[in-house]
Point group: C2
Chain length 462, copies 2
Amino acid sequence: MSQTVVIIGGDAAGMSAASKIKREMKDANVIVLERGEHISWSACGMPYWIGGVIESDERLMVLTPEIARKKRGIDVRMHYEATAIHPESKTVSVANLDTGESMELAYDKLVITTGASPLKPPISGLDLPGVFTLRSLADSQRIYAYMINRRPQSAVVIGGGYIGIEMAEALRDREMEVHMVEMLPQLMPNFDLDMVGEITEHVQEKGVQLHLNTRVEGIAKDSEDHKGKLLVATSAGDTLAVDMVIVSTGVKPNAELARDAGLKIGKTRAIWVDDHMRTSDPDIYAAGDCVEHYHIALGENAWIPLAPSANKGGRIVGENISGGDTAFPGILGTAVVKVFDYTVSTTGLTEAQAKASGKFGENGEDVGAVIITASDRAGYWPGMAKIKVKMVFRKSDGKVLGAQLVGKAGVNKRIDIVATAISAGMTVADIGMLDLSYAPPYSPVYDPVQVAANVAIKQVGG
Amino acid sequence: MSQTVVIIGGDAAGMSAASKIKREMKDANVIVLERGEHISWSACGMPYWIGGVIESDERLMVLTPEIARKKRGIDVRMHYEATAIHPESKTVSVANLDTGESMELAYDKLVITTGASPLKPPISGLDLPGVFTLRSLADSQRIYAYMINRRPQSAVVIGGGYIGIEMAEALRDREMEVHMVEMLPQLMPNFDLDMVGEITEHVQEKGVQLHLNTRVEGIAKDSEDHKGKLLVATSAGDTLAVDMVIVSTGVKPNAELARDAGLKIGKTRAIWVDDHMRTSDPDIYAAGDCVEHYHIALGENAWIPLAPSANKGGRIVGENISGGDTAFPGILGTAVVKVFDYTVSTTGLTEAQAKASGKFGENGEDVGAVIITASDRAGYWPGMAKIKVKMVFRKSDGKVLGAQLVGKAGVNKRIDIVATAISAGMTVADIGMLDLSYAPPYSPVYDPVQVAANVAIKQVGG
């Protein structure tokens, strides 16, 4: 008898698992339950569609339900929501959101890929028209439609993380007046404070009005303004009257279904899985933004919801359900972000994260960090840009813990050299000795990450 | 009493060693003997000065004798040639090329950084005016002066390796008619034949007239042409009448001094050194283009003269002479080359090299290779370019042996991910699992090197 695999959630992780299973086990009955409007879209591309870099949202649809059904033989059920998991009977309660009908679905293997949801700050007015979060493709379509229909001239972006910054750039590309309100004293809390100065200035040069150390206290509709401005009250006492608000204050893992079913939840509040992406129930797997992963530099689990681990995790689930034996070595939170003319990238731990972890001396005494600035190409090459590199390492033995890069060029793939080195357990001395590519149009003879590593060596040991 | 260190050769390796020693041991008497006109120039930048990308040759001088003397306290002696090494008496015979005077210099430690010299094909006419090799900065100045004074309109470049291709591009940038004659059936013998097709077409599209499988048989001056064309006779029976000839048919290590002194010479004909860059004589070190290095993917010594290992080797010599204990893990021959609008890069072994090495099955049965094509950025990103990736690996266990990349963007630092992975002894499965950076403007969700690795996995084991 063929196996039935039920997958809750049809984005990257879920569809990667489904596709892998159907490739490996043609007979398997693979049912994907998706409560939303789309499957498998490029969430990371959405700000660029909103900003006009990408022409059509069709380009963001990696896979449609029709193609998944016809070409891959996956039983995709749109507007189906899983409402409860019953591990003892190996069934899932499912609601058809269109008809209101509910049913029980039996599974041999279950895959939870429920993703993450926007974390909404505890303020009034979040449900007013013109106030948006950006998580699903439908969210971006709502924002796009509002921009076309209402021609907003101004916006507040709440939150200065990756998405907030990408959205600020998108709205500036649409020539809107943009305020960004961030409650922390810095943009991009995944970077150390001493690495974001240039970016903070640059964002302001590009016309984003920054409000750091500031909370939004509430959003109201201006009843006196016939255009219906939104009034955003801040903790600094300002009232920003704008046409649109983007709430990008982070996300939380969608772990309720798993928790209610008695599955193990990690310290991070995301679903716990072993290195084979199996939950605490041997017939239930989970992957994507709803799970925590082993963090290679930290040495314990962390929750960093990013697309590459969702794709890999889904594929690993598919391989293991299909009889494979694939282990996931873990994540480093490697990321790259475009910030107008700059690129910033990070991998592993920041200095602040390493010190706060308690893993490297009680007060982080064993955490070393250096910052250098170097040319991305030969110093004489026309158009050469400066890159700032921070390298974080264990002082006692030089083991690399993380790196951050900021610059106008050459920042993206260089971070991956360090990510690879951390995965291999390399020290700063090892990085200094790597045989990396050199030619004047592309790199100086010592790559900037090696320059940083060679400076770091001096702090190691003694 | 302070130590005397004599260094033979004042380019990258020699000056790196000298500078390191003076930083670590202020009292040391460091004498650099340089027979040529310059020290420490960027040889890799020379084609770009000739082609007009870089405005002045001063930009290529990393260090002048004056600055080395005044700022670093190095006793640089220009136009001094070492003519013999006497390990028993720890002296060097030296000739002052300006005065003809000769002398004996005593050393405590000797460093040989004699570099490499152009390999000249056995043909007539190499000493005719207008026929050049490109190795020293003085060579490039001669070419530059000839171009300014004689306004050559056409050229033959003999040899289709890195330098030949860079020079062909430089001369095309100067709007010259350019022929390239290569005796092998392909350009860039450091790449597999199946990776150079696109480049071969591209070079021709850019106006380079290619003569593959062709030898130059001789060069003569055309006595009947008042402009004095050079007549280049090829094995194909053509006579190419041009104004200028560049001979870039490879280089050979300058190992004569070391060999005559009884130092161990490797199978590659370059100077043998241990992992501390020490020759077979404990007081004599060597580094740079005159030495062979351990090749990490090959598992034995190889001679691949490139700037990064020369710089590292020189610094390691300096550290060890100064009382340090630094070992060099070896090379991978990692390289990147601009070929007009394309970039090509390589690390480790090509499929052909791996098979020919006899290290992976008698007839190379254990060598696997895959070629894939992938987007360098998200598939929907405007300006996205296709990258062709070849990955070479050991079939039995998936260990990565090498990679080659060809494309119009995103080719340079990606090769370094693979170089780092090979240094760490990773398998193709390990590469597939790396947590690499992703964002639509910079990379697809699976990096192209991971796409190649994931395809390669299917050939591993069974």
